[in-house]
């Protein structure tokens, strides 16, 4: 197994001892095929057990290990050492307060996720005994990609609007609302509009598109947001120019 000598420059912050974050360098030898997460685990096990970070599944499905790696939001379990040269800079996910080392405070995101009412509000009631709602593969395809979000928040770290306008609901939350809006079983679109069609909702987005570029699951939140904008606009015109259409 061939090894590589790598250097990690990792942001450290302990509120009990630091007034501001600082950087710490670790020089280690790693197998070539490792990812940054493996390197961090090695550091914690063999060099510095005080380093704190979140991780779990190591297969890009739990969304825990989002970090800035050389300034780009990435999942540490999918950032391959072979793709980097020189010193690798590892920082906590941008646009979130730093709790400790690479751990961020994600309260804002969790609150926003809940605000968009991301659950089924069935169009038609159905008893369990009556079996499943019918949903064709085509109807499933209509929302499938927007259901793949692992809540890793790389999109929030990439979005300059979220950085500059903290009230902005953000890509993942809007994409999730859109997922439910697009689900043929759901009748809750109007209920969600209050949040996602508000100023702090989709209209804060200026289609930078960075969110979709960094999304590890190809959810395409940027696309979801533009679709929400179009739908909301059509809604507005319909309501004001053709009020008789509103049931």
């Amino acid at each position: 197994m061939s090894e590589r000598a790598i250097e990690l420059e990792v942001l450290r912050y302990n509120p009990e001892t630091d007034s501001a974050p600082r950087f710490q360098r670790y020089a280690i030898a790693c197998p070539e095929e490792w990812v940054v997460l493996d390197a961090l685990n090695h550091v914690k096990e063999s060099v510095d057990p005080t380093l704190s970070y979140r991780w779990s599944c190591h297969m890009a499905v739990c969304g825990s290990c989002g970090m800035m790696i050389n300034g780009e939001p990435k999942l540490a379990c999918k950032a391959f050492l072979r793709d980097y040269d020189g010193v690798i800079r590892v920082e906590p996910l941008a646009h979130f307060p730093v709790e400790r080392d690479l751990v961020t405070v994600i309260d804002d995101f969790m609150a926003k996720l809940a605000r968009v009412r991301p659950y089924l509000m069935p169009k038609d009631a159905k008893a369990i005994e009556a079996g499943e709602y019918r949903q064709t593969p085509a109807e499933l395809a209509r929302f499938k990609r927007y259901s793949m979000c692992i809540n890793c928040m790389l999109c929030y770290a990439a979005c300059p609007e979220y950085a500059l306008i903290p009230k902005y609901i953000g890509p993942a939350a809007i994409a999730l609302a859109h997922r439910w809006n697009q689900d043929s079983r759901d009748g809750g679109r109007e209920a969600r509009q209050a949040e996602i069609a508000a100023t702090e909702g989709a209209w804060e987005c200026s289609f930078v598109g960075a969110c979709s570029e960094v999304c590890p699951e190809h959810v395409d939140p940027a696309g979801a947001i533009q679709q929400v904008k179009i739908r909301s606009t059509v809604d507005w015109y319909t309501r004001h120019l053709m009020p008789w259409l509103k049931k």
Binding site: P97, V105, A138, Q227
Partner: protein
């Protein structure tokens, strides 16, 4: 364990350096910046209409202005920015207008391509009406 430990999250400052953090943000700002040229060109056209209404002398002066080196430079830049904006915009339209056929989606290239096609057709029509051929 200390009784009165409060966690003290650190909020990292956001400066305008974000624009240069990655080429995608530079490209975005260029795209947004294009509005200045497009807006400027629009104002120039409004000015031209005003000069047209003011009589043949004013109109001739306006045409002189258009032929000046500064104006040429401005128009070249405006055309470049407008084209950049249109190209980036058309390439993004498939995200905003997904067309589903059964389980599959119409390929992005087809949707963007359709926009380019209409743009080309309209441009040719404009040139024809303007007497270019």
């Amino acid at each position: 364990m200390a009784e009165k430990v409060n966690h003290k999250p650190y909020a990292r400052a956001v400066t305008s350096e974000w624009i240069f953090r990655h080429p995608r943000y530079v490209r975005y700002m260029v795209r947004e910046f294009s509005c200045l040229f497009i807006g400027g060109w629009t104002l120039l056209m409004v000015w031209g209409l005003k000069q047209l209404a003011a009589g043949p002398d004013a109109w001739a002066a306006f045409l002189e202005l258009l032929r000046s080196p500064a104006s040429i430079v401005f128009h070249v830049l405006a055309l470049a920015f407008a084209a950049y904006h249109s190209v980036t915009w058309f390439n993004l339209t498939p995200k905003a207008l997904p067309l589903q056929r059964g389980e599959a989606f119409v390929p992005d290239a087809a949707i963007a391509g359709a926009h380019f096609g209409v743009w080309a057709a309209l441009s040719l029509a404009m040139l024809y009406l303007a007497g270019a051929f």
